[in-house]
Symmetry: C2
Subunit: 394 residues, 2 copies
């Protein structure tokens, strides 16, 4: 080992879902939208002139920021944009949760990943943990580790529901550095009522509360109306799911101007020009086509409900997903076996080899044809395995 390696920031990176390069795959593993973005996106991209590419993009992303603000009835000063919501969340973790965190002198921080065992009064403020559920978007703990942010992970209940009381001041006695919740939560798909979110934001005025609304367009109640009243709330969104633009990398955050200004200061200290000219024009074009957007959302929601019914018929068990995916378990068949069997059928779903969720599949809602193929494949595997287990049992 070379001496310089001692000073490297060692991390265990997030592992994204597989992006297979071969064709003919039914890809239900990364919650992408089965429909293309609005045709306006394509024409805007084709109008982008070669000669314009030699110049830097607008560092303030003014047009896109304004279009996003307008779509939510907010002012441009309330909008922050980034390279997908992962970029936005990474910047937010760095800005709001990593200041004054304890030095680790070259050792890896493992975070305070200890369920509800929240720091007591004897610990210094630097050890106060960031809170997020034990089962949620797995990038949260990766960002926390990257920026050496201590964290605690209150467990979801047995139905995978967030327990709002875990995030209330009386539970943690104010000894926290922030809260991050995905709503609807991933990979569970379950939405939290707005009243519960309001209580958390109101109850923790001394820390920033981030509500990650990557999937909110598919269901659940947005926290955006709370922004008018609470200056410690940040709502994040992405163009990757509901707007079919995963390939262009566009995400954003909404908050009161002061919060957004702090985020922009850090962003301008990291990279002046995060948004390419292509991303800027595609984002604006997508927002212009409201009808197309609403129509494709409705198709996905209808198909989600159809898929729920079909999965139920096959004996799957799952919560009432508000997102564009279903997190399902089958009482008779290990999820890992099903995951591998589906992969052989060229149907990719997501499997997480992690405590509590290692017997679940996260299935993205695709096109009608894709969902019919999935259901047929599942039916086939269930039949085969039931037959086999009957053979084995008797």
């Amino acid at each position: 080992m070379s001496a310089w390696e001692e000073n490297v920031r060692r991390v265990v990176p997030y592992v994204p879902g597989e992006q297979p390069k071969n064709k003919g795959i039914i890809k239900l593993n990364t919650n992408e939208n089965p429909y293309p973005p609005s045709p306006l996106v394509e024409s805007s991209l084709h109008d982008l002139e070669n000669k314009s590419l030699r110049l830097y993009p607008d560092p303030t992303s003014e047009d896109l920021v304004k279009a996003i603000g307008d779509s939510h009835g907010l002012r441009p000063e309330q909008v922050f944009v980034g390279v997908g919501s992962d970029d936005v969340l990474a910047m937010a973790f760095l800005t709001f949760f990593s200041n004054g965190n304890s030095s680790n002198n070259g050792h890896e921080s493992k975070g305070n990943n200890s369920g509800t065992n929240i720091a007591g009064g004897h610990e210094s403020k630097n050890q106060f943990p960031l809170l997020f559920p034990d089962i949620t978007y797995s990038f949260y703990s990766v960002w926390a580790d990257l920026f050496r942010i201590p964290y605690a992970t209150p467990p979801l209940d047995t139905d995978f529901r967030i327990q709002p009381r875990d995030y209330c001041n009386s539970s943690h006695k104010g000894n926290i550095r922030g809260i991050v919740l995905a709503n609807p939560n991933a990979p569970t798909g379950l939405a939290l009522e707005l009243s519960a979110i309001r209580s958390m934001v109101q109850d923790n005025p001394d820390v920033v509360v981030i509500i990650d609304e990557a999937y909110i367009d598919f269901g659940g109640e947005t926290a955006i109306p709370l922004l008018a009243k609470y200056d410690n709330l940040l709502v994040t969104r992405t163009f990757s799911k509901s707007r079919s633009l995963a390939g262009m990398r566009i995400g954003y955050a909404l908050g009161q101007p002061k919060l957004i200004a702090y985020l922009n200061d850090v962003k301008y200290s990291f990279n002046s020009y995060t948004m390419s000219k292509a991303a800027l024009i595609c984002g604006v074009a997508s927002l212009q086509d409201k009808t197309y957007f609403e129509d494709s959302l409705q198709k996905i929601k209808n198909l989600r409900e159809w898929t729920k019914k079909e999965l139920k018929k096959l004996g799957f068990v799952f919560g009432d997903s508000a997102a564009n995916f279903i997190f399902a378990n089958h009482p008779k068949l290990p999820a890992k076996d099903l995951f591998l069997a589906l992969k052989e059928d060229k149907i990719y779903v997501r499997y997480f080899d992690k405590p509590r969720i290692d017997n679940y599949l996260r299935i993205t809602i695709g096109t009608e044809e894709e969902m019919r193929s999935l259901i047929s494949a599942l039916r086939k595997h269930l039949k085969y395995n039931t037959y086999n287990s009957l053979k084995l049992d008797f």
Copy 2:
């Protein structure tokens, strides 16, 4: 002030050169290429299908990484890509220089910005400074402040040349955490000999040395041949200048596989998908058109030499720039006045209101027509001011 603000990471962001929105401006302020990218870039962008945008891009950027590697005779494992070289450098500062830096408990770190006053043996390793020149790309100190990295800034000599001995082990006694040098340096345009760079890299095997080659295609000797021998060297590059792709945001770093792997771990802990599909295909297309690239480089280099002659005739003083800009001073006229006068003529150049360089203009090489307009405008201002000062003096 709200209580949550106490925990915010406060920073003073980098201020990029102006990106004026009005037309008819001769833009010589941000070192962009006056020529469009290769026509292959435009056609690749127009071939990008709408339906492909719904899917995430390849997180490994395999095609682009391979094309970049091939262009330098390096393997894919030696290439890291990012959203412009600013993104690449930000990730490199975070990966190689910010581990185990001292906690600041909410106070702003001002860095050890004290010339050659390098930390002595009495200070702990956590205080060892990162080294870069006092006059260089001003983002270096911004990244250092963002990640709370102590730094020291050995001064350039009076001719704005880097003093290699400042970076040698005997000068700092090994008490440093790394070195970052732009070659050619910005905003001076001066190149450092490869032998000096080799000595620095060899002399400091315990720390990472970054050579920022944003402008190397316009002149100077690349450090890439050193990569075979030294595992502590990272060379960064950008598509924004020589490849006319500032608008698409593509940069990269080259190093030995171990160094690149550490960088990728941090990148995958920050954002899985930094490169949009548009950026990936434009980057590959640009690399395919070698003739176009060489031709436009040659045109810029010829025009740089012509501009030097013309500026000399007008009495300007400057070093021998190897980059696509000239950093010039006029003994009789304050740079700030000239900067403002040119701005009135709709000619934007860059002026830095900073110690030692506040009487210089950084002038990007534009098209022939643009450079002729610049020289005429400068001639006009010099005549007028000489006349005025004669009137005042006698």
